[in-house]
């Protein structure tokens, strides 16, 4: 049985697909994190975001996160899907779903997965404003 679903796609992410992957009769709960494109950064209007990836490595790092989540939390399955390319306001760059017998593990796994993804997975976003564009987080 496959317990992880990892994907990077230039197509629209599918919440139902992530939900269906983790759903199982043995589980008492499913948690979902959906990242969405916000319309401002520190008061400045964002028009769109462009996500670029080092795809083969990003897939490996996402797989590591999923494997670690399975190891560290009592979850049944986890899906981590990320989008690439240009996204408009309100669109979805990332979906994480986790299922577990009990809710706490599913909450913890979901939070661990998104926090770690933001630290380790080689994906970069560029924010487009009306007067230019910037790589997010490039100068931490």
């Amino acid at each position: 049985m496959q317990r992880t679903s990892i994907k990077i796609t230039s197509s629209k992410l599918n919440l139902q697909e992530c939900y269906a992957f983790v759903e199982d009769d043995v589980c008492g709960g499913i948690t979902t994190f959906v990242g969405t494109v916000r319309n401002d950064t520190e008061g400045k209007e964002v028009l769109q975001l462009d996500f670029s990836t080092y795809k083969p490595m990003a897939l490996k790092e996402m797989q590591k996160i999923a494997d670690k989540a399975l190891q560290d939390f009592e979850i049944h399955k986890i899906a981590i899907h990320h989008a690439e390319g240009m996204l408009q306001i309100g669109e979805i760059p990332v979906i994480i779903t986790a299922s577990a017998k009990h809710r706490k593990a599913a909450f913890l796994a979901c939070e661990f997965a998104i926090d770690t993804l933001k630290e380790t997975v080689p994906i970069w976003k560029k924010e487009y404003f009306s007067d230019g564009e910037v790589w997010v987080n490039a100068h931490p």
């Binding site: 990242g35 996500f51 670029s52 990836t53 080092y54 083969p56 490595m57 990003a58 490996k60 990320h82 760059p93 990332v94 998104i114 993804l117 933001k118 630290e119 380790t120 997975v121 080689p122 994906i123 970069w124 976003k125 790589w135 997010v136 987080n137 490039a138 100068h139 931490p140």
Partner: protein, 80 residues
């Protein structure tokens, strides 16, 4: 020896390339490769920090880069 160097995010803008084929005299450590990059592309000074990936895994400074390796410059990531 020949290696492939990939640039991502802001580093590709600073260097003006996505991918380079680089010929080096001999195998070098990741730390020495960073010095080489910094010397060749001083524009990389504009980012305070970046990681190096060797064949699609994060590399520590002591790892040695060998013939045909793929080396990637990984500026701070911002996925999610």
């Amino acid at each position: 020896m020949k290696i492939t160097v990939l640039f991502f995010g802001i580093s590709s803008d600073l260097v003006g390339e996505n991918q380079l084929e680089v010929t080096l005299e001999k195998a070098i450590s990741v730390a020495d490769f960073k010095d080489y990059l910094q010397e060749k592309y001083s524009s990389l000074d504009k980012i305070k920090t970046y990681a190096i990936a060797l064949n699609e895994s994060y590399a520590t400074n002591d790892l040695v880069i060998k013939d045909n390796d793929v080396v990637a410059v990984i500026p701070p990531v911002s996925g999610g």
